[in-house]
C-alpha cells in the first residue's frame, strides 16, 4: 500500500482546540459587559431565591402604619397596608423569576423545533408553519396575554402558557433564518447523500451550528419575558394580593410615592437591574459570536 505523496507537511498543526461551544462561552466571558450583566443577574436572582431567608418580618404581617418612614422596625418603611417593605421585597422576586424562566424555556424549545423544521422543509410545510407564526405575531405579546386573562382570569399557568406561546414565533423566526443558511451548506448535503435521517440531520448537523444566534435570541427573550411577566403583575393580573410580588408591589405602593417612595423604588430598581443584566449577557454573547465569525473569515 503506497502512501500518496509526502506527508502533508511539517507540524503546522495548532494545539488541540477547544470545542466551538466553549469558545463562544469564553468569548462572551471576555467582555466586560457580560461580567457586569452576570453580576447583576446573580445579585438579583440571589435576592429572589434566598431573600426570604433574610426577611426580618413576615411579608403579610402589619408592622406599622401605612406608608411609614424607614425606622428600626422597617428599614425601608412600610407599604400601603403597613407591611414591611424590605420583607415583601425579599419575598417578591420568586414569582417573576420562575414564571419568566419557565415561559422562556417553553417558548425557546417550541421556537427552535418549529424554526428548524421550517428551515429544512423549505416547502409547503415551511409556509404553513410560518404563516401560523405570523398570525400569533399579529398581536403585541401583552395584548394576547390580556385577552386570555380577560376570559380565564389571572391564573399563573395561563401567564406562563401565553408568554411561552407568544415567544415561540419570535424564536422560530430567528432560528429559521440562521438555519436556512446552514441547510444550504455542503456538509448537510453530504449527510443527505449518505442517507442520514431527517431528524438526525436537524438536531445533529444543523442545530449545533445555530447555537450562537440562538443563545443571543434566548437571552433577549428572557429579558422580554421578565418585562412582560412583571408588567402583567403590575397591572394586577399576576400573583394576587396579599402575596408579595415585585410587579404587584409597584402598583400597590404608587399612591404613596410622595410620602414614602421605597415601596416602589426597591422593586422597580430590582426589575430594571435584572433586565439590564440579562440584556448585557445577551449582548456579550452577540459580540463574542461576531468576533468568532470575523476571526474565521480572516483565515
Amino acid at each position: 500500500m503506497t502512501t500518496a505523496t509526502a506527508p502533508a507537511g511539517p507540524a503546522f498543526i495548532s494545539p488541540k482546540q477547544r470545542r466551538p461551544g466553549v469558545v463562544l462561552l469564553l468569548g462572551a466571558w471576555g467582555q466586560a459587559r457580560t461580567k457586569i450583566g452576570l453580576g447583576l443577574v446573580i445579585l438579583l436572582v440571589g435576592c429572589a431565591l434566598i431573600g426570604p431567608l433574610f426577611a426580618p418580618a413576615d411579608p403579610t404581617e402589619f408592622v406599622a402604619a401605612p406608608f411609614a418612614e424607614p425606622s428600626a422596625d422597617a428599614l425601608f418603611g412600610t407599604d400601603n397596608l403597613g407591611r414591611d417593605v424590605l420583607s415583601r421585597f425579599l419575598w417578591g422576586g420568586r414569582s417573576v423569576l420562575s414564571l419568566a424562566i419557565l415561559s422562556t424555556l417553553i417558548g425557546v424549545s417550541l421556537g427552535v423545533a418549529i424554526g428548524l423544521v421550517a428551515a429544512y422543509a423549505r416547502n409547503v410545510l415551511d409556509d404553513v408553519l410560518m404563516r401560523t407564526m405570523d398570525v400569533i405575531l399579529a398581536f403585541p405579546q401583552i395584548v394576547l396575554a390580556l385577552v386570555a386573562v380577560a376570559t380565564v382570569g389571572p391564573k399563573l399557568w395561563l401567564l406562563v402558557l401565553v408568554v411561552g406561546i407568544t415567544t415561540a414565533p419570535r424564536v422560530a423566526r430567528v432560528v429559521r433564518g440562521a438555519a436556512l443558511d446552514v441547510v444550504e451548506r455542503d456538509f448537510v448535503r453530504a449527510a443527505e447523500g449518505i442517507g442520514v435521517s431527517r431528524n438526525k440531520i436537524l438536531f445533529g448537523e444543523v442545530l449545533p451550528n445555530v447555537t450562537s444566534p440562538l443563545v443571543v435570541e434566548a437571552s433577549l427573550r428572557l429579558t422580554f419575558s421578565i418585562a412582560l411577566i412583571s408588567a402583567l403583575s403590575f397591572l394586577g393580573f399576576g400573583l394576587q394580593p396579599p402575596a408579595a410580588d415585585w410587579g404587584l408591589m409597584i402598583n400597590e405602593n404608587r399612591l404613596g410615592l410622595e410620602i414614602q417612595p421605597w415601596g416602589v423604588v426597591l422593586p422597580v430598581t430590582a426589575i430594571g437591574l435584572l433586565t439590564i443584566g440579562t440584556s448585557l449577557i445577551g449582548d456579550g454573547f452577540s459580540r463574542a459570536s461576531i468576533g468568532i465569525q470575523r476571526g474565521a473569515r480572516a483565515e
Binding site: M1, T2, T3, A4, T5, A6, P7, A8, G9, P10, A11, F12, I13, S14, K16, Q17, R19, P20, G21, R185, D186, F187, R189, A190, A191, E192, G193, I194, G195, V196, E205, P208, N209, A296, E299
Partner: protein
Amino acid sequence: MNTPALEHGGPVVEVDGLRVDVVEQGFDIVDEISFQIDAGEVLGLVGESGSGKTTVGLTLMGHTRRGARIARGRILIEGRDILKLRPSELRALRGRTVSYVPQDPASALNPALRIGTQLEETLSAHEFGSSRAERRERLDEMLDEVLLPRDQRFLARYPHQLSGGQQQRVGLAMAFSCRPSVIVLDEPTTGLDVTTQAHVLDTVRDLCSVHRIAALYVSHDLAVVSSLASRVAVMYAGRIVELGPRHELYHAAAHPYARRLIEAIPEISGRHALAGIPGTAPRPGHRSSGCFFTPRCTYAVEQCGREFPPVERVGDDHEVRCYRHDDVLAEATRDRKPAQALGAVAPEEGVIAADRITASYGEREVLHDVSLAVQPQECLALVGESGSGKTTLARCISGLHRDFTGELRLRGEHLAPGARARTLKMRQEIQYVFQSPYGSLNPRRTVGQIVGQPLKLFFDFRRRETEARVLAVLERVAMSPSIADRYPDQLSGGERQRVAIARALVCKPSLLICDEVTSALDVSVQAAIVELLRALQQDMGLTMLFVTHNLPLVRSIAHRVVVMSEGRIVEVGPADRVLDAPEAEYTQKLLANTPTLEAVA
C-alpha cells in the same frame, strides 16, 4: 482634456521599501516591497492566497483595508510620493490618476444605484471635461471601448440585472474613464467563464497599450498573467521573492518557490506530473526570521533559517531573493516531467450507466437527454463551463438531485433518484466530494467524527474498529493521525479537502465523484490534491468521475473526457485525443480560449 503626461522621464510607478502592517498587533502583512512599472507596461503580481498581493495592489491608491496601515516606504506615482499627500489630494488621485478594477464586480457595484449613475460619477467627481455634454461623450466612448451597449436603457439598469461579464466590463469602464496613468487590476477575471475571460483580457491589453497605461495585474493564475504581463513578480508570505521578465521566469525561475509554483500548474499540451508543495505559507504574525519558505524548501540550508535573503540580480532586469539561486538555476531549465501514462482501461460493463437523463431545477431544464457510462477503474472527466450541467449530472448520479427523468444503473441495477430511496449498499458504493472545503465539513465536529460518520451509518463496527479505519484512511490521504482531534476551522483548504476525500473513501466506495474539488484551492495545493487523487485511483483501482471546468487539469488525471455544454454532451473520447485533436467546435473554441503558459515563448 488631460492626457497622462510624465513630468519626468522614468517609471510611472515606483514602490520602494513598502511595509503594511496590522494596526492592533503590529506584525507585517507585507514588507520590503519594491518594484517599478513603466508607461504602457503590465507588471504581473502573482501569489497564492495569503501572500499579500491584494494588499500591495490597494496601496497604489494609498488605501488599506480596515485594521491595516502603511507603516513604511515610498510609493511614487508620476514622481509624487502619494503617501505624503493630504487627504484631499489623495482623493483627487484616486480614480483620476490611479484606478482600481475590483475582483468581484457584483459586490463592488452599488446595488441601489443605476449603472449609468455609477459610471458617470467618476467623471463628475474629478471634473473631467468642461461640460455635461463632454462627459456624456466620454461615457459613450468608454462604453464602446469595453464593448457595452451605449443606449439609455442599458444605463438605466441596476447591477443585479447584468451578467457577470457585463458587470466586469462596467468595472473596467469605470476604471478607464478618466484616462488614468496607472491601473490596478485585482484578479478581474475570477469567476468568469473562459470565453468571457478571454474577451476581458483582450480588452485590457488593448486599452493599456493604446493609452500607454502602467498596469499592475494581481492574480493567482500564472497562465492568465502570462498572456498580459511582460514582467512578473512572485510574492510569498508578504515578500516579493522573484521579479523578472515573463519568459525567463517561466522557463528558468531562480527561486525555489517560483519554480515549484510553475511546476504545479497543469498544462494542456501534454501529460505532466503535477507536483504540489507540501505545507502551507505562514500567515501574518506567524512568520519567523529567515526565509519564510525554508520549511517547505528542498534547497534549504542553515543560512536560510537565519536571515531573509537580500535582493540579488540574476540577469537583465531579473531579481531574486534566495541564497541558493545559482543551484536552482543550474538545475537546468528542465522540461516538465511527463507523468506515467495512465494504465489502459478495458471497456467493460460500466460501473455507472446514465441513460437519457433529463434533469430540471423547477421549470428550468438543465440536462437534455444525456447518456454516459463510467468504466470500472477509469477516471472519467466531466468538463464544461458553468451552466453546462456537469454538476447537475454528478448530483443526479449521487442521489443529491432528484428531479430528473431517465435511468441510472449501478452495475446493471436500477438506482432510485434520491439518496434516501436507495439501499444502504448503493449509498455506500457511490461517494461524493464537494467543491468547497469550507462548506463540506461540519464546523462543530472533529475530523475524526466527520470521517467516521459514514462508517457508523453503513457498518456496525465497534468503536475501536471505527477508530482504526479512520486513522488508516487519514494516513492514506497523507494526513497525520493527530488531525483526528482537530476541528475543521483549524485546517487549511488543502487539508480540509483531504479530510473530505478521506470521508468519501473510508467505506471503500465503488465510485468516487469529485465535483470541482480543486477550484477553491491555490495552485500548489490543487496540484497536491490532484496528484493524491491520481495516485489513489491507480493504487486502489478506484473508479472516478472527475467534474471540472479546468481543461488542463484533465490531462493530469483522466483517462477519458466528456465535454458538456448547455446541458448536452458535445464530445466524448480518450483524454489525449480530445485535447490534442478536438472534433467538436465547442471543444476547439474552449481550448483556444484557455490561457496557457505555452504562450510564453
